[in-house]
């Protein structure tokens, strides 16, 4: 009720803002999350549990927003492992042991972080915005986007996304399973100017059940990528693996 009230107030006092459709808002958020449709970046994933912290370092190449090659660079136990995501298709390659193996979108490779969390840096490929509301988060007025899965490859059934209305920078997101269960909450942090725009460079993910479990994703070294599209295939994964 409170959200609806805020939504009505927002409509009344800021009709021009909601002239922007939920889809347009989502696309603007995505443009702030990813510097381009085709780019390369490095990602450090730190998973904090009761027994300590484990760290993984990744090199990510994204093509046309929907194709991703992810190379594990550290620790040495996973070094050379490659994840390939093309639309809803996912494969993993483990050096020396096997051919690339097709895996399901639900098969997680790293603690609380799904494959899609790593390989996808935009929402609008897998999710559609169902509604937008206005809300106050702390002392800040924000948009709240309700997203629902539109592809079979989507890792979550639904996402609630909090967005700064002036800059379209994401603040926070809640992720829900098919059953409707709240799985985790992500906080976007450390906004920096990267490739010409201010973007969040840290994503802090809190598990909704195991509250001590926190995973931090730290993005660095964004560059525009020139990897040929033909290399986003499972038959190229072995060669990408040896580029470690």
């Amino acid at each position: 009720m409170k959200r609806i009230l805020f939504g009505l107030i927002a409509l009344g006092i800021s009709g021009s803002v909601f002239a922007t459709t939920p889809q347009e808002i989502l696309e603007k958020v995505d443009r702030n999350r990813a510097p381009a449709n085709t780019f390369t970046c490095r990602l450090k994933v730190s998973s904090q549990k009761e027994d300590g912290v484990s760290k993984v370092e990744l090199l990510i190449r994204v093509k046309d927003a929907k194709k991703s090659l992810v190379l594990y660079q550290a620790p040495s136990s996973t070094k050379g492992r490659v994840l390939l995501m093309v639309e809803d298709n996912l494969w993993v390659y483990i050096p020396g042991t096997s051919n690339p193996i097709r895996i399901s979108p639900q098969q997680q490779l790293m603690g609380q972080v799904s494959n899609a969390d790593v390989a996808r840096v935009v929402y609008n490929i897998d999710y559609q915005p169902d509604s937008v509301e206005s809300e106050t988060l702390g002392n800040e007025k924000v948009f709240v986007l309700k997203l629902s899965a539109k592809t079979k490859g989507a890792a979550y059934k639904a996402i609630t996304l909090w967005v700064k209305p002036d800059t379209y920078l994401p603040i926070k997101a809640e992720f829900y399973a098919l059953s409707g269960r709240h799985l985790k909450t992500a906080y976007y942090k450390n906004y920096k100017t990267t490739l010409g725009s201010v973007r969040p460079t840290v994503l802090e993910i809190h598990d909704a059940v195991q509250t001590n479990s926190i995973t931090t994703l730290e993005y660095t070294d964004f560059t525009i990528d020139t990897t040929p599209e033909a290399f986003y295939q499972k038959t190229y994964m072995e060669r990408f693996s040896s580029q470690n």
């Binding site: 549990k49 484990s54 620790p75 040495s76 136990s77 399901s104 098969q107 499972k234 038959t235 190229y236």
Partner: protein
């Protein structure tokens, strides 16, 4: 062969010598294995014919090295030093699994040297892995373990990449172990909207083959795959031939001289549970395996040899028969039908993963079970405990191994 080596050396010599980047990795394993030897197995009566150590200790490493000589040229080496010890002796060996040079031109790659070419989507078997079929592998071992310990072939090959599909041409010259030249042509295509990838292979060799691999994502949690090979040519199977039914009987074990054709199929699926556990189930039809009639002949041969050896009848001949029977055994590949199951549970308890592999011979109902526990000491090292337990009647496939069970404790360090 000489021409091939000349080409390889020439390709190395014309490569630019300025090294622009090198990378590598080193993984060390130390494992102790204990086998509960059977006191009087059919294939080793009274433990008198073959000697198996009860306990072995193996230290081995996997060394990977890659160097980019230029943006177009690179070479890659994989070496496996192995130190194996029993109570009475130690032996050291080194296996050069890979050593090849590769040249990249636009989106295409050309390579020459020793390289592992692996094909297939199955876990229990890979009937389309044509270059791998003559390699001696222990199929009672986990697929990860047996695949990582695999020596490559001398290859001259090219991979061509197009948008959403690729194709390869590979030539392997005859050698001391493979008596004919072999050729492989394969193409791989992704059908994005169907969430399916497909590969087709044509193999020319002593036993030629046509293969199809398909894998598809069915739901968010499940994947289905199939691997099929149609084989034709010279049979690779060793057969037992009763030459004379006198006393003692005269047997001969030989390669089947006839031309054969058959089909091998793997059908499999894996499912991911909400807690991240995975279940993999496969059915493997092995047309090249022993039929129930052929297995009955082999069993009869083993029983006859065992009985007469222990009775002291023509002991040297019977000893030879039993040694030959042992050399034929390739557990996990003998039958025509298998069922395979693997359940993996990450984080069974904190830092500990669990998996259970089962392989069942659907013809004689014998099976093996392999529980496997891994405890992660830190990001780069782990300890593991594994057991192989065989079950079946005396003359069934998994009733025949000379020991039961086998237990392994090991550590793995990813040094670099």
């Amino acid at each position: 062969m000489n021409l091939f080596k000349t080409l390889l050396l020439a390709s190395v010599s014309i490569a630019p010598l300025q090294i622009s980047a090198t990378t590598g990795s080193l993984t060390l394993f130390e494992q102790g294995t204990y086998r509960q030897l059977k006191s009087d197995p059919l294939l080793n009566p009274n433990q008198e014919i073959l000697t198996f150590p009860k306990a072995t200790n193996t230290i081995y490493g996997i060394v990977d090295f890659r160097s980019d000589l230029s943006p177009e040229w690179r070479y890659q080496i994989r070496y496996r030093p192995i130190l194996e010890s029993t109570r009475s002796e130690s032996s050291f060996s080194g296996v050069l699994d890979e050593a090849f040079i590769e040249w990249k031109s636009d989106q295409n790659f050309f390579y020459a040297g020793k390289k592992n070419n692996k094909d297939g989507v199955g876990l229990s078997a890979n009937p389309t892995d044509f270059f791998g079929e003559n390699k001696r592998v222990d199929k009672t071992k986990r697929e990860e373990d047996r695949r990582i310990q695999r020596e490559g072939d001398l290859l001259l090959g090219a991979d061509f990449f197009q948008d959403n599909w690729s194709y390869s041409l590979i030539f392997s010259p005859k050698s001391e172990t493979v008596l004919d030249n072999r050729y492989l042509v394969k193409a791989n295509i992704l059908l994005e909207s169907l969430r399916t990838d497909l590969s087709a292979l044509y193999f020319s060799g002593p036993l030629s083959g046509i293969g199809i691999n398909l894998s598809t994502t069915v739901t968010d949690s499940s994947v289905f795959y199939t691997e099929t090979a149609y084989r034709y040519g010279s049979s690779q199977k060793k057969r037992v031939l009763l030459v004379s039914n006198g006393e003692p009987r005269e047997y001969r074990i030989e390669s089947d001289p006839s031309q054969v054709s058959y089909t091998d199929i793997v059908l499999g699926s894996h499912y991911t549970f909400p807690d991240a556990s995975t279940l993999i189930i496969e059915y493997y039809y092995h047309g090249g395996g022993y039929s129930p009639t052929e297995w009955a002949t082999l069993s009869d041969f083993i029983l006859y040899s065992n009985k007469h050896y222990k009775a002291g009848v023509a002991t040297d001949l019977m000893r030879g028969y039993i040694q030959q029977a042992n050399s034929v055994m390739n557990f996990g590949s003998m039958s025509q039908q298998y069922g395979f199951l693997r359940f993996s549970k990450p984080d069974l308890i904190e830092k500990m993963d669990f998996s259970l592999v089962g392989l069942k011979n659907l013809s004689d109902q014998s099976f093996l079970l392999n529980p496997y526990l891994t405890y992660h000491l830190n990001d780069n090292s782990e300890i593991y405990l594994s057991a192989y337990w065989f079950s079946g009647s005396e003359t069934s496939e998994f009733g025949l191994p000379n020991w039961n069970p086998e237990i392994t404790v090991g550590t793995k360090w990813n040094m670099y």
